[in-house]
Symmetry: C2
Subunit: 705 residues, 2 copies
């Protein structure tokens, strides 16, 4: 079979196309895809297909795809849905390797549609034919004057790629992403998915930034793997919709996506190096940022502004993005002081208005830009200037000076925030050489520079996930324990669960199971006092509520009493439960209680969860996620992401917890769930994290049915 690059390339750079189901209606409002394809200047061979035959727009119409005298590179189907499965089979039979299904009404619709979509997948399985859609506008390639959309729109050959699940991101690309160089609306993603197109974009050098509009994923890990590879060489921006519960519901009926939990998507994006954007405006301006600026040497920003007030707004925004205000060199300060009024302090932001008003705005901005761009203490410059009138009429028109400065110093981004009613016209002028981005607000300018910095200096500098070396991870021991425990039910609790944790190499509290008073007393002598006693039953997971936990036992007598009490409580409160006895454990309390766990996500498979115990997880939902496996570095990042991290670091005068040991425990647990798919869910709760290390006090495992 062809490699993935070739498979996808056929969709966007075909030498011949069959337009199947083309209508004889043409002209505005007819939504005739073939008419648009011709109009956009496509230079390949076009064949029309419609059982009625004849001729449309000067193109001969074939009754079926089989009648076309060549095997076309691409078939584009826009017939009513009932005809689609048959036509796909015809395409396969004819040896066509790329089929785009424009028609709606499949997984995005009723049961019948879902069945039909499944049938299409069945029809192409193993044939080498790939499908884009259904429910798509198809493809656009502005480098090749190619566009299958039935909606007419304007575009430009931007140096970017677009992968979307809603056609508006293709038809509206000029707004959302300053145009789409190459775009694929993957629609219902019945076959061709994000990962496929990402792999194509990885090798397509005309694409310098990739923009994703995502409603949901089917194969989360495949996406992550592809995205991480691409993100190493070009930025990948992603707008994920369906974040709210209501939105997720709407998404699943729109493209038949599985929306999944937003926090898990967030974790996966972070792990893969995908830059998540929150709205279409951010996508637009970040996309332009990456198309325009190659990098940003450091994080020190200079501000040149016509307005002190506007400068303050930008200072606020830069500080929220973690960027720094540059300190100007002596030379820069002196140069500014030479033109400023005497009473004015010189610094960053450089408020050039008073000087500009008396000495001319244009010469002063030219001087200021020259000086700060040259200043070795400055890594980027943000310039704030107004558009009160149209550029040609405005005495404050300094677009020329800005472009000049950007040309002269290509290694430092020169960003502009233009305010005022004519900013579109000014922006167009400023951006025509592709050297300056004009942002719509101080917040966006700061976001642009901040993201540029962090992509090049933080993400790209980050090591790849480490191969995880886990001495003492006893896989065969775990295998056996799971087998034995699994015979007794779906839940593994108490001693069995702790034994599995121990086989992972995670320290567990010393515990002994006892099924009688006497055994309990013997165990107590072996463990030493004080002790905790817990009910041991595979059927009772909330032991405290069933009166099944007694702490602070100090003598053999207390142990005997406690045994009787727990047995009595269990008999009363959980009469149906199988009771195996009790578990005796040392009393441990040195450190903070954390919860580490894992569960299986429909899109991403095993996902790790970390949180500080108590109210932090229960009430504040202060937890973090990662797709497993995670190495210790990623585990540290998980902890640092929670608001309560300060507590482990030693806030409130306590000794900091051993974070290395904690990170290792998370990594070991992640290895467990990655290696043993029979584990559906696991929680070590609590894991005590203290200065001397970690110790698991309790664990609960659910097996997959």
């Amino acid at each position: 079979m062809d490699d993935l690059y070739i498979q996808v390339k056929r969709f966007v750079e075909p030498e011949s196309v069959a337009m199947i189901g083309v209508s004889s209606r043409t002209g505005p409002g007819s939504f005739n895809g073939m008419e648009n394809l011709i109009a956009c200047g496509y230079r390949g061979r076009i064949y029309a297909v419609n059982p009625r035959g004849g001729e449309i727009l000067g193109v001969k119409v074939y009754p079926t795809v089989t009648d076309i005298p060549e095997v076309v590179d691409l078939a584009v189907i826009s017939t009513p849905r009932g005809a689609v499965p048959g036509i796909v089979r015809e395409c396969v039979a004819r040896g066509i390797r790329a089929v785009a299904i424009i028609t709606q009404g499949f997984a995005d619709a009723d049961q019948e549609g879902k069945k039909m979509q499944a049938g299409i997948i069945e029809a192409i399985r193993g044939t080498g034919t790939r499908v884009v859609g259904p429910n798509t506008l198809g493809m656009v390639n502005s480098f090749a004057d190619f566009n299958t959309s039935f909606v007419t729109f304007t575009n430009r050959p931007a140096a970017n790629g677009v992968i979307c699940q809603s056609g508006i991101f293709m038809a509206g690309a000029l707004d959302f992403t300053a145009g789409a160089g190459i775009g694929i609306d993957i629609g219902n993603t019945a076959d061709i998915d994000f990962a496929d197109v990402l792999t194509y974009f990885e090798r397509e050098s005309r694409v310098r930034v990739v923009n994703l509009h995502m409603e949901g994923l089917k194969e989360g890990r495949r996406f992550m793997e592809a995205a991480r590879r691409v993100a190493r060489v070009k930025p990948v921006l992603c707008l994920k919709t369906g974040r709210s519960e209501e939105g997720a519901r709407a998404a699943s009926s729109h493209s038949g996506s599985l929306a999944g939990e937003d926090a898990v998507y967030g974790a996966a994006f972070r792990q893969a190096g995908v830059i998540r954007v929150n709205n279409v405006g951010e996508m637009n301006e970040l996309n332009k940022t990456f198309m325009t600026y190659s990098s940003m040497p450091g994080k020190r920003v200079a501000i040149v502004t016509i307005s002190g007030g506007a400068g303050i707004a930008l200072v606020d925004a830069l500080s929220r993005q973690g960027l720094e205000l540059a300190e100007f060199s002596r030379e820069t300060l002196d140069a500014l002081a030479g033109v400023y009024p005497q009473w004015m302090e010189v610094g960053n932001p450089a408020d050039i208005w008073p000087a500009g008003m008396s000495k001319g705005y244009l010469p002063i901005i030219r001087l200021a830009l020259e000086k700060v761009m040259e200043d070795p203490g400055v890594d980027a410059v943000a310039c704030i200037t107004p558009s009160y009138l149209e550029p040609d009429r405005d005495p404050l028109d300094v677009t020329g000076a800005l472009k000049e400065a950007a040309r002269k110093y290509p290694d430092k981004p020169l960003a502009a925030w233009i305010f005022g009613p004519h900013r579109r016209a000014w922006a167009q002028r400023l951006e025509e050489e592709g050297t300056i981005v004009t942002y719509s607000s101080p917040e966006r300018a700061a976001l642009g520079l901040g993201t540029l910095y962090s992509y090049h200096h933080i993400f790209k500098d980050a090591p790849s996930p480490a191969g995880i070396d886990l001495p003492g991870f006893d896989a065969s021991g775990i295998e056996k324990l799971l087998l034995t425990a699994g015979e007794r039910g779906k839940e593994i609790l108490g001693m069995q669960a702790l034994d599995i944790v121990s086989c992972c190499g995670i320290p567990t509290v010393r515990s002994i199971a006892a099924s009688s008073r006497e055994e309990a007393q013997r165990a107590a002598r072996e463990l030493g006092f004080p002790l905790v006693m817990k009910l041991d039953s595979p059927d009772v997971s909330h032991k405290s509520e069933a009166g099944g936990v007694i702490v602070g036992l100090k003598t053999a007598g207390e142990v005997a009493e406690a045994f009787d009490l727990i047995m009595q409580s269990a008999a009363e409160k959980a009469p149906e439960a199988r009771v195996e006895g009790v578990l005796l454990q040392e009393c441990r309390s040195e450190g903070a209680e954390v919860i580490i766990g894992a569960r299986r996500d429909q899109q991403f498979g095993p996902v790790m969860v970390y949180g500080l115990g108590g109210i932090h997880t229960e009430l504040f939902r202060d937890v973090s996620f990662r797709v497993a496996p995670v190495d210790t570095g990623e585990a540290r990042a998980m902890m640092a992401e929670t608001r309560s991290f300060g507590i482990l670091q030693g806030a409130r005068g306590q000794e900091p917890a051993d974070l290395n040991a904690l990170a290792e425990a998370v990594a070991r647990l992640s290895s467990l769930v990655s290696s043993f798919p029979q584990i559906a869910e696991i929680d070590i709760n609590p894991l005590l994290a203290g200065p001397g290390g970690v110790v698991a006090l309790d664990c609960r495992i659910s097996l997959a049915r």
Copy 2:
């Protein structure tokens, strides 16, 4: 003296203006304010003033303001700064009541400038002359063709007011606030301040929305009082810059503002009903929202969309704003089902594309809008449609249908999110009748509708702060205690502090002071066991760290021992401290520990602080603020604002705390700090809040020097 309305009106609707310091340079780039004033069509009398005399632009130039043959309504000064104080004195002497000082270099600059600004204030004191500025573009009144700006800009008579501290919000108003009906750049606010102009806007009926750009306030309470009054009759939007530490520093050098703590500003805005916006884009679109829509009957929103994917983004955004997705009536559902393809589910969002493609987009959108606007279950409609081509060329142009629907149903907002490259042109068309707002993103559309709803239904429905009736508030007792304690130092701790709290009517823990072993034992017998003993010293505020707290005393013997121990620790760890003995208190532990306190803010005076104790305040800074006094309703809102509120409400299976008692304690404490300015700071820490009420366990008061 004239009332405030008349005083401010002279600045924006003068019948005669003296332009003092006008330059003979004219034409583009000359920044000649008089030239602009003439060009904008001002119909009042203009006098130029310049010692050189002669004539400028056909206007006779008088050497001084005294030479002008009439007492003008307004003088606008733009001479070099050195001349300004003398000219202001001349204006006062001539009886001119309104003076705008354009010149920079006063409190915004060096020490010399600050002194000169103080001199100007001195010169007008008690004279009836008011000053706008210095450091301002002056005033614009587009209803009266009046504009003092030396910068040329375009504007339109929008039904709004602008008060700003940076001229860009006036000159750039067409961008920031869709124009400025009446605008005043109050610059350094040496005299005329936000509160003055707000009071003018309250009565100015052409102003329907007020927009503030604020760098800092001088008199916080005067602002709140005016803003609250105005906000009851028209929305007040505020963009506060200088939020970050760096931004605050920049602000103080820009307009000489005191930026103050951002969280306190936030609290003051909330209390005054001021709608805080986060950036200029939000200001723009919220201003338009309030200029366009009179209200919104409820919070159920219908979405009519060309794109399922875009609909999902809007659902997400609406849900974040607390709005609801409307459930369509049977009639609406049937009407849509009648035109939808059979396989498509009907609901909200109404994704009309499949129907529009087969039956024509225009008739289908017309039908959908008609049905949802009529639907009694719908309170507002948001329509999503693209601008792929210019409106006249685009077969998807539905601007007419939208305007028609908005005209026909004026009581429900019809909001539009237009995407695509031509949205400006489409927006212009949609907005020309003043019935539709075109938002730039789904987030902004949701923000617009959400804010419209909450202004009309939450803010306006909220009761005014209640008169606080506090039986048992013993003001004269407090007075006496403060006097006695004040003689002993700046800090009041222990028994004295608790006694003051008790006089406020806030329950305090039963406590007895004892200065010897024997007294301590006697006190113990009176209080009963178990007990807590605390060091009593006006010089030790962190008692625990000085070994000054022992808990769980159960016998008279333990009390004697504890007394010796505490005395010994105090002697060792705080040898300089005056030791008065110990305080014996009942052991109380029923409930959560909260901190309630107050401190004095430079701008706002006494400010209340509330937080749940422990890590919540120390580590998470999970605290809320209000400007004192607060009634119990406001105190409840303070608690509800913290993330940890759930704990008091009974999360984790505990009985909820008595929130009424807690709110009352906050109100009483706020009354204390409002009535006794000698209290600089007070903290009740902890206040135990349990199901049975509250009790103060400890308190610390700092007196103002």
